[in-house]
Amino acid sequence: MLTYQEITHRALSGPIMSEKDYDLKRFVRTLRRIVKKYGIQYNPDTPVPWQDDLADRVWQAALEFLSEVGAYCVDSERVIEFSQAELEQALKDAPQDVVLGEGKDARPVPIRKPEDEAPPWCSLGAAGAPVDSDEVFLSLMHAYAELPYTDSVPTPSLTRVNGRAIVAGSPLEIEGCIRTARLAKEAVRRAGRPGLCIANFVATGVCAEGHIAGHAMFGGPGDLMEIGAFAEMKTNFDIMSKVSYMESAGCRILGESGPVLGGYCGGPEGTAVTLTAYHLFVLLVLRASLHHPFCVHFGIQTSTPRDVIWARAVANQAITRHSHVPCINVGIITAGPATGMGLYETAAWIAATVASGGSIEATGAAQSTHPDYLSPMEPLFAAEVAHAVAGMPRQEVNEIVVKLVERYQDRLSDPPLGKRYQECFDLDTRRPGREVLDYYLQARHDLAEMGVAFEDEPFYV
């Protein structure tokens, strides 16, 4: 694989291009042409497609696409170019047999294929969704770590330090990052799982200094630093500096990429190709050991519309049929906790993803934009669905997902916000209130009627 030194060299000396030219002349034009060339077409009736040939064409398209457009470094206004041979070599040399966590909590991340019977990796937590206080943070993290399916925990992000709103780039961000790392470690210790992998060091961080400070204080070799590209195919010095630090710290990176459906990617077809191409981007530019894809709808900021689910499913199938690097997919749902709708949204994207070969990280609720509007119930339900659908044929899963999407799709543009964690769970016992429990039992019942066979009894009953 190209060294990181070489990637940096290309970021500083690659072809110069304005950002606008990269977006409009290079990225958009090439993507449109390649989607057409490979005959990639979205079918709204199959949010979970099952044609391997389609997945393979998306993979080939992605390889060709990335070799033509390269990655863009915003600070140097240069393109980091790759040949197709370099992309293929990166895949061959990518990390193998990744183990996360430490001690008794260390586990290998499964390498899954579409319709794989192996249970997916379940990273259960807030996925960076905001919380307002240390108290809510600790209780939530403790609750996530107690869930029986939890393989790793993505923390919430703190919005405040001692009641004061964190100003990005200020010392409050440094303090927020260090506190996030400290509280996360304390919570998993309290749950009796001190070696559990924290999957998103450091969620409260915006700038590299915050990320690095938090990790340098409390990050361990079994944790993951989450480092992202930004839409589309872009990086900057801040991101690259985090990578540079992590390369030296010897810890693993969760390479995040979130193409925007309806943005430069265009429709679902272009989004699927872009998401697939990001798989190689995260290996080379972000030096990731694991890919952390999500895609999101530009209008309703969620991962659960029908076209977004299709794009993710196709991309996961394309990637997992050709790469040994696991995808731990993250999703954003629109409805908040204690709404019912959030559970159906969760079930839809999780089922589609798991049947397509992916693993999961679940989940922020209420579009991850409202502080404290999240709970352990959605991640729990996500994991139960994920374990239940592992091994199911994609065609069957498609039928379930169609029913689920029909149940909530009309409400996506005006979803219920629900309740805050502290309003629907007990902060001390971390147990749900009656209303939340009823929604959960009803959702399990509905999913079972659709053909989902849950492995275990309901956790909170």
């Binding site: 990181y4 030194q5 940096t8 060299h9 970021a11 500083l12 600070d75 140097s76 001692n162 004061r164 100003v167 780039g169 200020s170 010392p171 409050l172 961000e173 440094i174 303090e175 260090i178 700038c207 590299a208 200094e209 915050g210 690095i212 400070a213 340098a216 204080m217 010095f237 801040d238 690259m240 500096s241 985090k242 990578v243 540079s244 630090y245 030296s248 710290a249």
Partner: protein, 462 residues
Amino acid sequence: MISFRDVVDRALDGPITSSKDFDLRLLVRTVRRLAKEYDVQYDPETPVSGDDELADRIWQAGVELFLEVGVYVPDTERRITFSRDEVELALAYNRGPILFGSGVDRREFPLRKPEDPTPPWCSLGAGGGAVSSEFHLLSLIREYARNPLCWSITTPSLTHVDGRLIVAGSPLEVEGSIRNMVMGREALRQAGRPGLPIVNGVASAAHASSHIAGAGFGIGPTDAMEIGAHHEMRVDFDSLNKVAYTLSRGSQIWAENGVILGGMAGGPATTAIVTAGYNLLDMLVLRGSTQHPFPIHFDLRTTTTRDTLWVRSVANQAISRNSWLPVANLGYVGAGPTTEMALYETAAWVTAAVVSGGSIEAEGVAKNAHVDYTSPVEPYFASEIAHAVVGMRRQEANEVVKALLDVYEARLPDAPIGVRLQDCMNLENGEITPEYREVYSKVRQEMTAKFGLEFKYPSIYL
């Protein structure tokens, strides 16, 4: 003492002021008025002042300046202000001994007064001077550490990583910063002094992200991050972020301020007041374990002009007579390695600082503006001078410094650049060239012959 958290709150909530208003209406006007009120006047005949009353008036003026003006945060365009009670409480704070280093190299930083018989702390190295390769850095630090008078290290900074020029803010800066620390630590191990503290973490870093990344590879609780204010009386988020991290990490801070004589600080009298005022900024905002000042001439970019020597001298006296936060003076000389002039300049600023109650960090050579124009000899010589002038009366030191100024002062605008490290020292074994040895030997002998300085130890270079 007021907490750092309160300081951050004030950085976000303090009175709003435009940058221009802070400089011109607040800082410049106030310091000019205070110079008059406290009758602070520069006397070119006393580059080393012996006037305790003048020192105390400068201190009072510095306190008033700090109280009236506060500290400007450009990111929020707000001022961090403090009450008189808060300042008095900070000055009364019983901090306990200031310790750096570990193992056999663990030492207490001395709190010296003018004409104090206690030897000063000698932090030796490049003062962040630029070197082109990590092997230069390794050799240099190993050489600094050979000196038994060296109690802490100020490393050079790297300009290149694997031959590639470091671009600020890019991943090369992160890599350069990490490498700076890894090679620095390795050099100290090779020198047999692994516990010697590094006090300018991290020289190769420009941004907080690189400072923090690099610190993880070589700055421990007994080392120090060097964190600076901006000209004048300004601190930005980047610096405050470094402070936030360092406080959490439990490392210490050398709080750096390079007041520019001829800039916003004005002439020597007002520059001295600003330098004294920085002592409180360093204590309260940068949370320093030392103040690390270098009043520098705006045009000649050295700290060895007559007026900057006076500023350093009176500011050190003002601070060391009134504050518990000790001064680790950093110096920049105009001339480069192998020149007599660099050694004369070194002797002048070190003498002025030490007899005025300060400790030293030596030093930047050839204005620290030319890559590889540095050597271990000037810092070594600085430490010899520092120990030789301990306890000297200020009036006597004034005569020494004036005589030295007579030798080099006229040549400051066109100082000889000297030769590069690799041209005057064997990088493998640290041996300096015979020509260089001759220059060093001559100036060293002159110090004894002309000024009666007695060197306490035989030189490793002779």
